[in-house]
């Protein structure tokens, strides 16, 4: 019998299978060798991830779903997974020294991160609502446990509980939305669902839109877009710093990848409805983060608001409805990820006598005591606030370029204004480091791996200007692979407007007329 479950037939999911076996292997080693083997396990995990990257490069990509239509391994999935691997390795490198310094070293840590990795891998590959949900839960469960990992700290336990409860609520939203979608389309498979959705009219279409909105709300929880953001400052603050770094580096990127797949998959024909929803999330996130970030004194909370704001800018790319816009979103998030890795590397270095410092005033005197670190942090902060010549500038540039090209002037104005306001809190960090009354130097050293991550991040931020075209083709290829039948989403909305002539002015028109521009 010709089985689809032979070893060679499963070649497209070898990377995930290898990771799953690696999790079990690491767990066994950990059980026998105890908590002091964490360092060994981390290096094994990094080695394993490099091998997974090698396997991914060999993976045959195809649009044909696997395992009875549950997952699909296409170019988009493979490219996203390569990005995840980079981020996973970076978060391993950042965490290792911290675990030993603060004395809560446990061998489960690398295992849990790898588990979350598997969940993210399947999230971007899912092609069926059930598979999406299972993968999402696998990833989210690991994150809940990681948030509460430092169980002796009240804050960490609180972060874990809060994250868990709100995560469960968001899962409820997603499941309710999926049940409505199933009720109105009769399918859970993405491609079959897309076919049925495109034929729906009248109240049945409204029902599908209703279901879609619930699913989108659930995903908005995961990416922490306003108004679904209330968990993120507390979780970022309470979780141990390397875990916060892990959240900031990968978990949002995975959720955005899932959002891409949903918006350009089953919901491709509901484009007029989700465009407004995403625009709302984007505007709210940008403005709310800009103002709320101003009063934050805790660096981790500051990073939380920074990430809310950045998700807002990233979502702007989706609102443009062009493949260039989607590609700009991905590009922006990759640049943001690299900068965040560096910033968290610096935050992890801020220790005095084994106590981790996390307040803004603790930065004082860094320029005197640790000038190299201070300049690295200053460059990263300039880059985050999108000052040219640093990499962060290019991220915002491509986003706003595309927004202007689609004549969404109102959104561009809101974006630029809130970006200017947000600059204040990035520059305040620089001010405290260089001009405030110096404090005692940090102790505990920086560690080679952490220094490596910071160096790589700073070099990327500084020298990106020399290769400004190096990343865009990659993100563009990745996104193009996802376009339904190679059609830009904006074409779909145009055809749907022509179909029901002049019923309502489109969102595009509204945004254009809200801010009249003489051309």
């Amino acid at each position: 019998m010709d089985s689809i479950y032979t070893f060679s037939a499963l070649q497209p999911i070898w990377p995930e299978l290898f990771m799953a076996f690696m999790v079990l292997g690491l767990l066994l080693i950990g059980v026998f060798k105890g908590h002091q083997s964490t360092r060994l396990l981390t290096f094994l995990a990094i080695g394993g991830l490099l091998f997974v990257a090698f396997l991914l490069l060999q993976t045959p990509t195809s649009k044909e779903p696997l395992l009875h239509g549950k997952i699909v391994i296409d170019l988009f999935a493979v490219n996203m997974k390569l990005i995840f691997i980079t981020a996973l390795i970076a978060s391993y490198l950042l965490s290792i020294k911290y675990l030993y310094d603060t004395g809560f070293v446990k061998f489960e840590y690398p295992v849990l991160i790898m588990m979350a990795g598997i969940g993210m891998f399947f999230m971007v590959s899912s092609h069926h609502m059930l598979a999406t949900y299972m993968a999402l839960e696998l990833q989210a469960f690991s994150l809940y446990i990681l948030a509460a990992f430092n169980r002796d700290s009240l804050k960490s336990a609180e972060a874990g509980i809060k994250y868990f409860i709100l995560g469960a609520v968001s899962s409820g939203f997603i499941l309710f939305g999926v049940s409505l979608l199933y009720g109105f389309t009769g399918h859970l498979n993405y491609s079959e669902m897309a076919d049925v959705v495109s034929g729906l009219t009248g109240p049945e279409r409204t029902g599908a839109v209703f279901g879609m909105m619930f699913v989108l709300s659930g995903v908005a929880f995961k990416i922490a877009a306003v108004p679904f953001h209330m968990w993120i400052p507390d979780v970022y603050e309470g979780a141990p710093i390397p875990v916060t770094a892990f959240f900031a580096l990968v978990s949002k990127l995975a959720a955005i990848a899932l959002l891409f797949r949903l918006l350009l998959g089953p919901f491709e024909t509901l484009v007029a409805d989700w465009q407004i929803a995403i625009a709302f999330l984007s505007v709210m996130s940008m403005t709310w983060a800009a103002f709320a970030g101003l009063v934050q004194n805790n660096l981790k909370r500051l990073m939380a608001y920074s990430s809310i704001g950045n998700i807002g800018y990233a979502l702007l790319g989706i609102v443009t409805l062009t493949s260039q816009g989607f590609s700009a979103t991905l590009f922006y998030l990759i640049l943001y990820m690299v900068m965040t890795a560096g910033v968290f590397g610096v935050l992890l270095c801020m220790q005095r006598d084994g106590v981790v410092l996390r307040h803004l005033e603790d930065l004082a005197g860094m320029s005197k005591n640790h000038p190299v670190l201070a300049y690295a942090m200053a460059i990263l902060m300039f880059s985050m606030s999108a000052l040219p010549p640093f990499s962060g500038f290019f991220g915002k540039l491509v986003i706003f370029q595309e927004v202007i090209a689609q004549e969404l002037y109102m959104l561009a104005v809101i974006g630029v204004v809130s970006s200017v306001i947000a600059t204040y809190y990035y520059l305040r960090v620089v001010k405290v480091m260089f001009f405030d009354e110096p404090d005692m130097p940090y102790t505990g050293g920086f560690g080679p791996f952490r220094s490596f991550v910071i160096t790589a991040s700073v070099l990327f931020a500084v020298f990106y200007i020399l290769f400004p075209d190096s990343l865009m083709p990659f993100t563009q290829r990745t996104v193009n692979d996802l376009l339904p039948h190679g059609v830009e989403p904006i074409e779909l909305i145009k055809s749907s407007i022509e179909a029901e002539q002049g019923s309502l002015p489109s969102f595009q028109e509204l945004m254009k007329n809200a801010f009249p521009v003489e051309r």
């Binding site: 479950y5 799953a20 767990l27 395992l67 009875h68 549950k70 997952i71 446990k106 489960e108 295992v111 849990l112 588990m115 598997i118 399947f122 059930l130 598979a131 299972m134 993968a135 839960e137 696998l138 469960f141 690991s142 809940y144 446990i145 509460a148 990992f149 169980r151 874990g160 109105f184 009769g186 399918h187 009248g202 109240p203 049945e204 409204t206 029902g207 209703f210």
Partner: protein, 207 residues
């Protein structure tokens, strides 16, 4: 005199289950005593499994009773009775959020009702496998869960493993000074290790 037909009995059963379910659900959140809350929860589970039986989903109904009543609710009961939490102080201020919650609930309810009204009467989907009609629930489930849904099945296994690791990581503490039983050592003990024979001289005793 109304003739009692099977459909009337079915409708009657539905309303009994549904009403008791809603009342029990309200009881869960309003009962003053936490143990009563859990007991109301168990009642709610039983009634929803009754609703599932009316729908012809007997497997889900059984699982509902076995898993939710048998395991989850009993676990809740243990937690409520063993952990000393002052629920009075926990509840203080909860009513402050009630108006906002009520408004949200009403909005959502209206939307769902409008949706229901608009789509009422549209044809249900008939896309299930005709083979399923001739099987029991359990058989139908068994015929796909290890083949078509193997992916979801395996991932759920992984999630369970993860939950286990998480529970151990977050709760296990290694205590010092605990005397553990070492069976190997016990079994390997010989007469020489366990006792010594001494000659006791008269009038001296043993040191």
């Amino acid at each position: 005199m109304i003739e009692i037909t099977p459909s009337i009995i079915e409708a009657l059963a539905f309303y009994v289950f549904a009403v008791v379910l809603v009342v029990a659900a309200i009881g869960v959140i309003t009962a003053r005593n936490q143990v009563y809350s859990v007991l109301f929860l168990i009642l709610a589970f039983f009634n929803s499994s009754g609703l599932f039986i009316l729908l012809g989903a007997e497997f889900v109904a059984m699982i509902m009773v076995i898993v939710y009543v048998g395991a989850v609710a009993v676990l809740f009961l243990f937690v409520v009775m063993m952990i000393d939490i002052d629920f009075k102080t926990l509840r203080e201020g909860a009513m402050r959020y009630a108006p906002l919650g009520l408004v949200m609930a009403i909005i959502l309810m209206t939307e769902l009702f409008l949706l229901f009204k608009a789509s009422f009467g549209s044809e249900p989907f008939e896309n299930h496998d005709p083979l399923v009609e001739q099987m029991t629930n359990t058989q139908a489930l068994g015929s796909v869960i290890y083949t078509e849904y193997i992916f979801a099945f395996q991932i759920s296994g992984f999630i369970l493993l993860l939950a286990m690791i998480g529970a151990i990581t977050l709760t296990q503490r290694t205590r010092s000074g605990v005397r553990k039983q070492n069976i190997e050592k016990q079994v390997a003990t010989s007469q020489d290790d366990a006792m010594s024979i001494r000659k006791v001289e008269v009038g001296k005793g043993i040191e």
